[in-house]
Amino acid sequence: MKRGTIVLIIFAIIAAGVVGVSLFLQNQPPLEITVAVDPLAEDWIRESADAFNASDTLINGTRRVQVNVISTSDLDVWQNTRTNFWTAENHPELWIPASSASVTYAARANIPFNVVTESTARTPLLWGGYANRVDLLTADGEAFDWSQVVMAAETESWQALGGGNGFVNLAFLLPDRTMGGLGVLLSASAAYNDTVNLSGGVISRDFYDWLTPVIDSVQNFNTIGNDIAQFMARNRASVDIAIGPEVQWLNGLDGITRNGEVRFSYPEYAFVFDFPVAQWEDPATTSEELSAGQAFANYLLDDARQTRAIAHGLRPAVGAPPVTASLFSTAEAYGVLIDPPLDTNVIQPPSATDIQSLIQWFTTTQ
């Protein structure tokens, strides 16, 4: 046998072995888990999932995990009109809603999610408005908050408030579709009732009457979309003042400031989106799935991921972003605070029954 032939045979054997092992490993499917995340944290979670997948994290020392991300508004999960959105046969393994309250409301609807991490990041509701309008509301030293905004909405025209032409145009996200919008109604309720505790039947006819002018001051909820800052940036003429999640304001700041000088202000009572991690747990849930879910939840809390959350405009789960965080520091000039008081005066959402009443009222009012 010639030397070349021998080399050829040896190579063929080695190649076959390499291909075999490779095929064997490729055929061991990773454990796939799906994470449903509210759009407010979607960018950060998608980036984190990519990084997690690339890290080849092993469960039980043997099994790779592949995290897939889908975007799901909190309200799609638990709102009564959307029952059976997730079923025992078709559901994500993990859910990162915008608010912990959503897990409570989902449990009420018999959707079996258990919180495994209380919060992975935070972002509060924040007022934003063009300086030429906001300054009219705060000229006498009043705070840029609900009472002045409601007063402006009742007045209807800027001329009557001592400003230029045009109706008072307000904006916020759709409350019957997004947690960002529903949080606005809760923020309003807290301001009207002067309390952070909304669990005691504070959704009343008087409150509805008080808030109606604000709803009427929104030109068209349907065209606002899912990002309040983007909407304000591209519709200078359709919105003077808006309230929405801080993360959207921070990411959309450039676009808005191109339209004019802007002012931000935190409502007295804070509504904070806290992005907990909840795990689907029913008899069919495997221990591997639980381990994989917990591994990803833990991964989101490590320093590198928390730093990336800040880069996306979210606040870390604990503490404040560093003063060097560019999105936050840039916005400081307009009223964003590096460390606002988000641990006191935090709104406690109402019962599932009250929240449904609130949504129903909005749906029939708008």
């Binding site: 030109q219 065209t223 606002i224 519709n235």
Partner: protein
């Protein structure tokens, strides 16, 4: 040893080629881009103006996927990530909306459309689709804006300056504080000397305005809603959003009729109006257009170059911004993965490079990350910010009601059908084609329009007097059906006489038109020349409602030059009587009224 190395290299390459990675493999091709065999295929019907950028956008999107790249992220396709393949066609927003509604409520209708994405000019159509179908065909809050275009009045710079200076002087306010809207435009109309009272020497007594059909065109629908707002305000309405009370108020309807009195004629398509107004201030004073259309004209892209710049008037009463939303259809013909793919395509349209391309075509970018730049410059006549007043979008039932009101607030028309029955029309099947076309034209006639029938060969004969179509439709149909060819063709004399009849009638509040169906071969011996005929038409140009003549040519040997001259004298165009496209031609003619 060298041979061994080559052998080894070849085998390594062969092994590499055995990798079972999922690279897309083409099975078909459109626009030179292969459709990956595992692609999720989606289709989009988009507004006609989006044709300026959408084909290239779709092609680049498809090409990226065909090359194994995610066009949004620029990254290689991940394991398991399926490519997406998009096909697109244009469609008038109103027609497509009705086609989608029909897919639910009248699936056997000839107009049924079942796209994955519908991108109309404005979200009014998505709301109307939901309203008319009685279901949530579109989730409006998830229909993202992709290109922004305020509806403006494209008005000649000299005209706008004339109004501004006159109002500033009259009211004693600085020029830059003068606000102009429908109120001032109506003032010009109602002023004894028209434009001459507003700083235009030798200007016309009347004002000529044009807009398209609100059942088809987004610009027209938004304009009509804006007219209802303006008329409501003029009648004391101070609220934010008009409702059925205002739409059904007779005083408000009269106000809208007053505005519609400015109409010279309507048109089905914005494309036509871009060419019409480019002819200059003698033809139209202003026209409702999307801002991008105005930029298109000022960039010199029309066939006719405008004699002076057009500028955008953002009416002080407010306007609408067309946002070109990506409406993803909720229907059983759209799968979840197609829905997700539609979102990815929307993401792509919103990327900075695509948005910059869209802006280059005259649309304001929907992605705020893109800074407003060329062609948004002062010399193109547009506002360099977006601080114009916008109107609240009424609820869908109110929009539908406004649309329905069109038939009784629009400007009515007096239309003479002038049909050539000379012997030459008997050659081939020209006369029978003309008869069929005339009858088809009457099929869509508004009952309140007045229609008359005249025929000519060696002389002109009025067969059916002008009367409301509601009254004389039987007679018209009967007479048209019995027309026979005979004698010579006194074309020029016939045009001169019928135009004379029209101009001699009261210059009322109606569009006055002659639809001429002829082969155009004048063989008359009465001594009337083409020049006489065109002069008769031109003589009415300064009237409140100048006569327009729309020739329809029959036969391959039609005297197109003569018919063109007749058309030009009232700034219309010759239409072909070819039976293969008669439906489209009738649409064009009907849309004048």
């Amino acid at each position: 040893m060298k041979r061994l190395f080559i052998l080894f290299t070849v085998m390594v390459l062969a092994l590499a080629a055995c990798d079972s990675g999922e690279s897309p493999s083409g099975v078909a091709s459109t626009n030179g881009v292969s459709i990956p065999s595992n692609a999720i295929q989606i289709d989009i019907v988009y507004a006609p103006e989006s044709d300026l950028y959408m084909p290239q956008t779709i092609e680049e999107f498809n090409r990226a996927y065909a090359n194994g790249t995610n066009p949004v992220t620029g990254a290689e396709l991940a394991s398991g990530e399926r490519p997406i393949y998009v096909t697109g066609v244009t469609g008038s927003s109103g027609t497509v909306m009705q086609g989608i509604v029909n897919a639910f409520i009248a699936p056997n209708n000839s107009n049924v459309v079942r796209p994955v994405i519908f991108q109309p000019s404005v979200s009014h159509w998505l709301a109307l689709a939901n309203f008319q179908s009685g279901r949530q065909v579109f989730d409006l809050s998830d229909a993202r804006a992709t290109a922004l275009a305020p509806v403006v009045m494209a008005i000649w710079e000299s005209r706008l300056n004339g109004i501004r200076e006159t109002v500033a002087e009259r009211d004693g306010i600085p020029l830059d504080q003068v606000e102009i809207g429908w109120e001032e435009l109506l003032e010009v109309l109602n002023s004894p000397n028209g434009w001459q009272d507003f700083g235009i020497p030798n200007g016309r007594r009347t004002v000529y305005y044009g807009h398209t059909d609100p059942f088809i065109s987004s610009t027209a629908l938004s304009t009509l809603i804006a007219e209802f707002y303006a008329a409501s305000r003029a009648n004391g309405f101070t609220g934010r959003e008009i409702g059925l009370d205002q739409v059904n108020d007779e005083a408000v309807q009269d106000g809208v009729r007053d505005i519609e009195q400015l109409i010279r004629h309507y048109s089905s398509r914005t494309t036509e109006f871009k060419e019409y107004i480019a002819q200059g201030p003698d033809y139209l004073d202003f026209v409702a257009l999307e801002e991008n259309d105005l930029i298109f004209i000022n960039l010199g892209r029309t066939e006719v170059q405008p004699p002076e710049p057009l500028v955008a008037l953002y009416p002080k009463e407010g306007t609408f911004v067309h946002e070109h939303p990506m409406g993803i259809v909720n229907a059983d013909w759209v799968t979840d993965e197609q829905r997700e793919a539609a979102r990815v395509f929307t993401d792509y349209v919103l990327t900075v490079p695509v948005q910059e391309r869209i802006m280059a075509e005259g649309f304001r970018p929907a992605n705020p990350a893109v800074t407003l730049g060329f062609p948004f410059v002062a010399q193109n006549g547009v506002a360099l910010d977006n601080s114009f007043l916008t109107l609240d979008v009424p609820t869908p039932d109110v929009i539908a009601s406004i649309q329905q009101s069109w038939s009784f607030v629009k400007k009515q028309a007096d239309i003479w059908l002038l049909i050539d029955v000379s012997g030459s029309m008997g050659e081939g099947s020209k006369l029978s084609q003309a008869r069929e076309a005339a009858l088809a034209f009457l099929d869509n006639m508004e009952p309140s329009n007045r229609v008359g029938l005249a025929v000519f060969s060696e002389d002109v004969r009025i067969v059916v007097d002008l009367d409301t179509y509601e009254t004389n439709q039987q007679q018209l149909r009967l007479q048209i059906g019995s027309l026979q060819p005979e004698g010579g063709t006194e074309l020029y004399g016939a045009v001169q006489e019928i135009v004379g009849t029209v101009t001699a009638s009261e210059d009322s509040d109606r569009i006055r038109a002659v639809v001429l169906l002829s082969d155009g071969e004048d063989t008359g011996n009465e001594g009337v020349t083409l020049n006489n005929a065109t002069q008769a038409i031109s003589a009415s140009r300064d009237a409140l409602n100048p006569v327009i003549v729309i020739p329809v040519a029959y036969g391959s040997n039609a005297d197109i030059n003569a018919l063109n001259a007749i058309a030009r004298s009232s700034n219309t165009r010759v239409q072909s009587g070819d039976p293969n496209n008669i439906s489209a031609v009738l649409d064009v003619i009907s849309s004048y009224f």
